[in-house]
Amino acid sequence: MSAMQDADARLLRAVTALLTQKGVTSADEIAERMRLTDAASPGQGARMVARAWLDPEYRALMLADGTRAAEALGIPMRGAPPLGVLENTADLHHLVVCTLCSCYPRAVLGYPPFWFKSAAYRARAVRDPRGLLADFGTHLADSVRVRVVDSTADYRWMVLPLRPAGTEGWDEARLAAIVREGDMIGTTQVAP
C-alpha cells in the first residue's frame, strides 16, 4: 500500500469512528449502504423498463412515480433522491444530462458511465443534442423532437425507451436483457 493509500485509509477509519461515536451513523448502516451501492446496476432499471413494456398499469405507475415503481420491483430507494421517468414516444426522444455536475439515478442505474461526467458530454448534450446522438450512433428522423432533460436539482431522471419491433411475444427477462444503460440515459435506442 502506498503512503497516499495508507493516509486515505487512516482518514476513512477516523471519520467512520467519529460518525459512529457521535451517533450520526452505525457500522451496520455503513455496511448496508455499501451493499446497496454494490447491488445497484443498469439491470435494475432494465427490469423496470421490461415490466412497463408488458404491464400498462405498471407503466402508468412508473411515469407517475418512479420511486414507487422501483420499490414495487424490490429495488431499495430509501435515502435516494426522488426518481422521475421520461417516456420516449414515436415522435419524442429524451436525453438526460447533468450540466452542473453528475446527478445520476444511481439507485436504478448504478454508477454512471465515465463519459456522463465529462465536460464534453455535459456541454454538448444541451447545445447540440442531435450531433451528440449521432456520435452515439443514434440517428433520429427530423420528425422526432428531442427533449434534453438537464438534471439540475433534487430529482433524478431515467428514460423509458421505446420497445423495439421484433420483440413481440418476448417474456420479461428476455426483454430486460436487451435494455442497456445508454437506452435509459437516452444516448441510444433499444436494439433487439
Binding site: 442531435r130 423532437r145 427533449r147 436539482a153 433534487d154
Partner: protein, 93 residues
Amino acid sequence: MTFAAGARVRVRDDWPETRGPCHIRTPHYLRGRTGVVVRHLGDFPNPEDLAFARPAERRPLYHVRFAQPPIWHEGHEGDDVQVEIFEHWLEDA
C-alpha cells in the same frame, strides 16, 4: 406554490457568482431566458443555503421547459430543454 402548469416564466438574469462564494443550481445558459412551467415537482431545501451548512428553507421546485432555439444555434425547431428550477429564480413573463 406560485406558478401553475403552463405559466410563462423568466429565469432571473442574476449572477450571484460575481458577488462572492455561492452554490447555484440554475444553469448559466438559462439566466434571463423565458420558458413554460411543466409542473411543480415538490418542495426541497434551498441548495444555496444547504451547501454552506446554513438553515435551508424548503422552496418550491418546478420543471420548466425552454425552446431549444433560440438558446442554442445548433438546435432544431421543436426541440426543447427541460430543467428543474427553484421558485426564487423565476419571475412572471
